[in-house]
């Protein structure tokens, strides 16, 4: 098998393999991106960046649940001006696409941050319109198709780079939001961000996270994330990046079969930073065993009738 069985291109991005670091995980520094790339990731997505610096929430910001984690970091980030330097430096050492995740409190803010990120050298922009635990941004935008469309349009108009919109699973019908994003100009979709959740401690009778509510990630959400990808792929032709609970090659293959062209991995990095390599190797073996020449050939196969 040629070594490029794993390479995949979509939305103007060219990936050597279809695994990416999910936003928010080890996502601040060029050295971290570099290390993740060396661990086998085909692309890296940065922590979500806004217009101003944010210190995020007090701890606890992460708590374990059954087969997953609940986090409420509160979008800590140094602001796009400071982060632009990190983007520039990253581009000098990184040999895989760097996707900058962006958030804002208005369409204008999203556009401003995205523009600066693109100018600093981002290979693509991912819009975080789905963070479930920060008020007035994140999911509040990602749950309303009209507001979402406006944000996507303004960002699209202000950058010349591929635009990925990361969707929230906390909606009644994700295809409505997907449609709004695509019609407004999204080149690809990431599905999905975390599920809105809470953890309460019986002993102290208190919510554990300082922010009370957070987002559930990890294996627990995989069946929901996979269903979101399946739902979108059933309705549109749009490149989808699957995200939620991927920790081994089998999970990744399930996402490809559901209709994803690539997968993002977040929580599983806690277990093993080399997860990108092991997933990629596993997918490669799978393709070989099944006599496929490219991962592209299996995208969406679970929909065949």
């Amino acid at each position: 098998m040629e070594t490029n069985a794993l390479s995949i291109g979509f939305a103007g991005l060219q990936l050597e393999n279809p695994t990416m670091l999910a936003s928010g995980v080890m996502g601040y520094s060029a050295e971290s991106f570099h290390r993740i790339a060396k661990s086998g990731a085909g692309a890296v997505v940065t922590k979500s960046v806004g217009i101003q610096p944010r210190v995020g929430y007090v701890n606890p910001t992460v708590v374990q649940a059954a087969a997953g984690l609940i986090n409420a970091m509160g979008l800590p980030n140094p602001g796009i001006d400071v982060f632009s330097e990190e983007i520039k430096f990253s581009k000098t050492i990184l040999r895989v696409p760097l996707i900058v995740s962006v958030f804002g409190y208005s369409a204008e803010e999203y556009a401003t941050v995205a523009k600066k990120a693109a100018e600093a050298g981002a290979d693509a922009i991912e819009l975080n319109v789905s963070c479930p635990h920060v008020k007035q941004t994140g999911a509040e935008i990602g749950q309303n198709p009209k507001i979402l469309a406006e944000v996507v349009q303004q960002v699209k108009a202000s950058i010349n780079k591929p635009l990925i919109v990361k969707l929230s699973p906390n909606v009644a019908d994700i295809t409505v939001l997907a449609e709004a994003a695509v019609k407004a100009g999204a080149d690809a979709l990431t599905a999905v961000n975390t599920l809105k959740a809470i953890a309460i401690d019986a002993e102290t009778m208190l919510p554990i996270l300082a922010n009370v509510k957070g987002g559930l990630s990890g294996a627990a959400v995989k069946p929901v994330a996979l269903r979101c990808v399946y739902d979108i792929a059933e309705k549109f032709e749009v490149p989808i990046i699957g995200c939620g609970g991927v920790s081994n090659w089998r999970d990744a293959v399930e996402f490809f079969l559901a209709g994803a062209s690539a997968v993002q991995i977040g929580t599983a990095v806690a277990d093993d930073i080399e997860v990108f390599r092991s997933v990629t190797k596993g997918v490669e073996n799978y393709l070989r065993k099944k006599h496929y020449r490219s991962v592209k050939e299996i995208v969406g196969l679970a929909h065949r009738k």
């Binding site: 928010g24 995980v25 080890m26 996502g27 601040y28 520094s29 050295e31 971290s32 570099h34 290390r35 922590k47 610096p53 944010r54 210190v55 995020g56 007090v58 701890n59 606890p60 910001t61 992460v62 708590v63 374990q64 649940a65 059954a66 087969a67 997953g68 984690l69 986090n71 970091m73 800590p76 980030n77 140094p78 602001g79 400071v82 982060f83 953890a199 401690d201 002993e203 102290t204 208190l206 554990i208 300082a210 990890g218 294996a219 920790s247 977040g266 929580t267 599983a268 990095v269 806690a270 277990d271 930073i273």
Partner: protein, 269 residues
């Protein structure tokens, strides 16, 4: 993915000891942290307030101890707690010091002495010689003097204070130079303020001596995800907190110079 270590356990503080005007030791029952190795840390939840990383100072018989300096909101709330109070624990996390034989030197500053004391107890019977250099601002803040005396021979202990109220009047790094030149050491372990660690690392590098240093960084998740604790390409929580000479060399642009702040921007140390 979900591991026993990562599960938040609530437990009741069984004992509180005052070690110095600013440092108290808290003893907690915990099934998992009581099996920790020297160098590992835990995440302590102070309900309703904060959750902070703390080095494990002792672990045995179902109990784990941490020694905490009151420096801000979380640590002051902790200091205000009484035995019986409920806290949460996750961990133990991180790697641990490697076990060396031969002639070993431990250099501790401030609460950094805590994990070294834990290590010293473990190494006492296994090494040829165990030397301890400890420094503090003033006599009152010299931690675990009695305990260190219990594991190291008197002649192998050096203490320094900035105000000269006990031991030598100097920084902890001062007596080190001659000690390192005079004696042969098979391993140097250190933990304390990062400026101190940096200086000691420079000294060991000059002399091509092996070293292991435990570092501190802002930590949120403690499990290698959030990126808050990154130094160079390493996550202190997951790849550390103990780093060897080769690793310290890789992070020399940041060690003792800058760290990530709460917003993820680099700030000077």
């Amino acid at each position: 993915m979900p591991t026993a270590n990562n599960t938040l356990r609530t437990t009741q503080i069984v004992q509180i000891r005052t070690e110095s005007p600013t440092v108290k030791t808290f003893v907690l029952p915990d099934r998992l942290c009581c099996k920790a190795k020297p160098g590992q840390f835990l995440m302590l939840w102070i309900p309703g307030i904060d959750e902070i990383p703390l080095s494990i100072m002792d672990a045995s018989n179902g109990l784990v101890s941490v020694s905490v300096k009151a420096v801000g909101d979380a640590t002051r709330h902790l200091h205000a707690m009484a035995a019986g109070a409920t806290v949460g624990v996750r961990g133990p996390y991180g790697n641990s010091f490697t076990e060396s034989r031969g002639r070993v030197l431990l250099v501790g500053g401030g609460t950094g002495t805590a994990p070294l004391l834990f290590l010293a107890k473990l190494l006492a019977s296994k090494t040829e010689r165990l030397s301890f250099v400890e420094g503090a601002k003033t006599k009152d803040e010299l931690l675990f003097v009695r305990e260190i005396g219990g594991v190291c021979q008197e002649k192998n202990i050096i203490t320094t204070t900035e105000d000269g109220t006990a031991g030598l009047q100097c920084l902890v790094t001062q007596p080190l130079a001659s000690l390192l030149d005079k004696d042969r050491f098979d391993m140097i372990y250190t933990c304390g303020p990062e400026i101190m660690v940096k200086k000691i690392f420079e000294m060991t590098e000059k002399r091509k001596l092996p070293i292991e240093a435990s570092l501190e960084r802002l930590m949120r998740c403690g499990i290698g995800l959030c990126g808050s604790c990154v130094i160079g390409k390493y996550r202190v929580c997951r790849d550390g907190p103990v780093f060897n000479a080769a690793q310290l060399r890789e992070m020399k642009d940041e060690l003792g110079i800058s760290k990530l702040g709460f917003d993820g921007s680099r700030i000077p140390i």
